[in-house]
Amino acid sequence: MYKYDQYDNKILQQRIAQFRNQMERFLAGELAPEEFLPLRLQNGLYIQRLAPMLRINVPYGMINSRQLRHLAYITRRFDKGYCHVTTRQNIQLHWPELSDVPDILAELAKVEMHCTQSSGNCVRNITSDQFAGVTQDEIVDPRPYCEIIRQWSHFHPEFAFLPRKFKIAITGSEQDRAAIQVHDIGLQLVRSDAGEIGFKVYVGGGLGRTPVIASLIREFLPQEQILPYLEAILRIYNQLGRRDNKFRARIKILVRALGPDVFAQKVEEEFEYMKDGSNILTEEEIERAKSFFTEPPYETLDDASAQAQVDAQAADNRAFSKWLQRNVRAHRVPGYSSVTLSLKPTGVAPGDATDRQLEIIADLADTYSFGEARTTREQNMVLADVKKTDLFELWQQLKQAGFATPNIGSLTDIVACPGGDFCSLANAKSIPIAEAIQRQFDDLDYVYDLGDLDLNISGCMNACGHHHIGHIGILGVDKKGEEFYQVQLGGSAANDARLGTVLGPSFGADEVPEVIQKIIDVYVENRTDEEQFIDTYQRLGNQPFKERVYAKAS
């Protein structure tokens, strides 16, 4: 993991001092609320429906056991003893005191954590693949580049007051797990025919009320040119992005208005001025960044015998076998696996973890996974480097701690925003809908048989629950003060990223579980042996689902 040096620490301490002063002036009435607003947002602080909310960055999802333990302490001392993992790999506190926030930032800094630009109209936390560095389909480890871009974006003097928020995601694998095509900038690390490392650059993707799949504007950008190229994109956006209408201010609207080709042309022209400047990465800097993400001290293991042991344990224990298949993933190093901890047991808000659970994850990370863990876009956590021979023992401990629900990637691994229970923007609640669906599908064997299925819930069209890219997406809408839910089908966040299609008129909260059941029934009745839900949907289209869901009772 990246380690702070004297420079990183100095910059972060200066930020905390700056924010402490801003908070004091705000509380003393010397800083107007509307002027304090973007300043507090750029330090992660929202004023929510019931209490402030503080969003803590987990840069590209990497977190270590020391940080997890300190977070646990922070949730106890400053909050109600739990936190929430978000769809951008961050961690939120939902009950801090406003005036405590500078102290919370100071506590976070002790473990090299922060809330820098986790909100506001600026470059947000860089997100990436939760299996970076350990996945078999990796082309280039994205984390050194994430860190380089993190440093470039933090406290960038030119881009702190953009027209709107700005999200960058990076993947280095063949299979995109970072949903790069629904980000303002999506970067895909690739190797040229000559073996050089570079980026495919996508721009203008996003969800929210105008969901758009990003456009490819550069087929191959040599790695050393990434910072000036990003700076060119941001400068064009800062100058030309709309500022007259908040809902037309994202870069996707600008890219669409100009057309991707014209936008790309403008970026290239701007880039011409910058491409020989000091922002070109040096070989030393790339090597320095890579030096923080070297391999942990893996043991040389006999994969066949480790696998044989796991297979024997699985044969004796059906629950373990199911967990293995859903929550455990192949690793590129023989004898190792990556394990996803489900934060989605029925009855718990998706992504929530208690202080004690954070400490347990820290302990398990120390015992089984070189002291590191990761947060995921699907609001779960990962222990990336577990020896296969430890899996059975780890599983038993995960069961005790409530992390072993064998539902990763399945229907009950629901992605949901905090929704109307917490968020002042929401039109409708999300968490109770997630729970009602989990209760409808409480038969683990049945859910297991349904295979891969992404179900996403957003409490409003801002789409924090990414409902557009769920295979099944649910959107909370407000109709004359009552909460209704619109269902859409066929979205995808993978390489063939696509947006879902609305099924039809919306439903009341109590109808949702049954509607989902009907959708699943159509799938189960029509699927072929190999088909996952999304495949069947793509073959059949919306119609059969629509007919079933809206059929008049006979």
Binding site: D5, N121, F155, T282
Partner: protein, 168 residues
Amino acid sequence: MPKLVKDGAIVDNEWTLMAKPEDAPEAVEVPAGQVIVPLSVWQAQQEKLQTRNDIGVWLNSDEAPEALQDAVQKLPLIALHFPLFSDGRPFSSARLLRDRYGFKGELRAVGHVIRDQMCYLRRCGVNAFDFGDQDINLEEAVKSLDDFTEYYQASHDQPLPLFRRRVS
């Protein structure tokens, strides 16, 4: 005389900021003395105004610095106007004026600029801050110029990014 922050000090504001004219910009009379005229007046009366050495030009946030063309080399002062503090376009304008068009004179932020933007604006090349009629304690505000003294990125004030300067 009203005060402003310039090069880190609190000094008299010796320039008059001329509002955008309601009439045709060519018809407006530019008074004697140090005046910062709107871009439209400058463009309409450039031949006459460029003979004076006490004329500056202000750009609104939606006016690109390209509009000044070669005059950038000669003007003693350019002001960047914030209609609203959260309109971030002047940050890019400042960098373009300094780093691309080589502006060497006084670069002044005017309008609804706030104290908490001073450090970033300084980094982008702005060296003077006129808070207009906002109720601001300049002795306090000036401290925000150095909210940060170390930076990751290259910018006007520090042309080398940290990665080219880092000593471990």
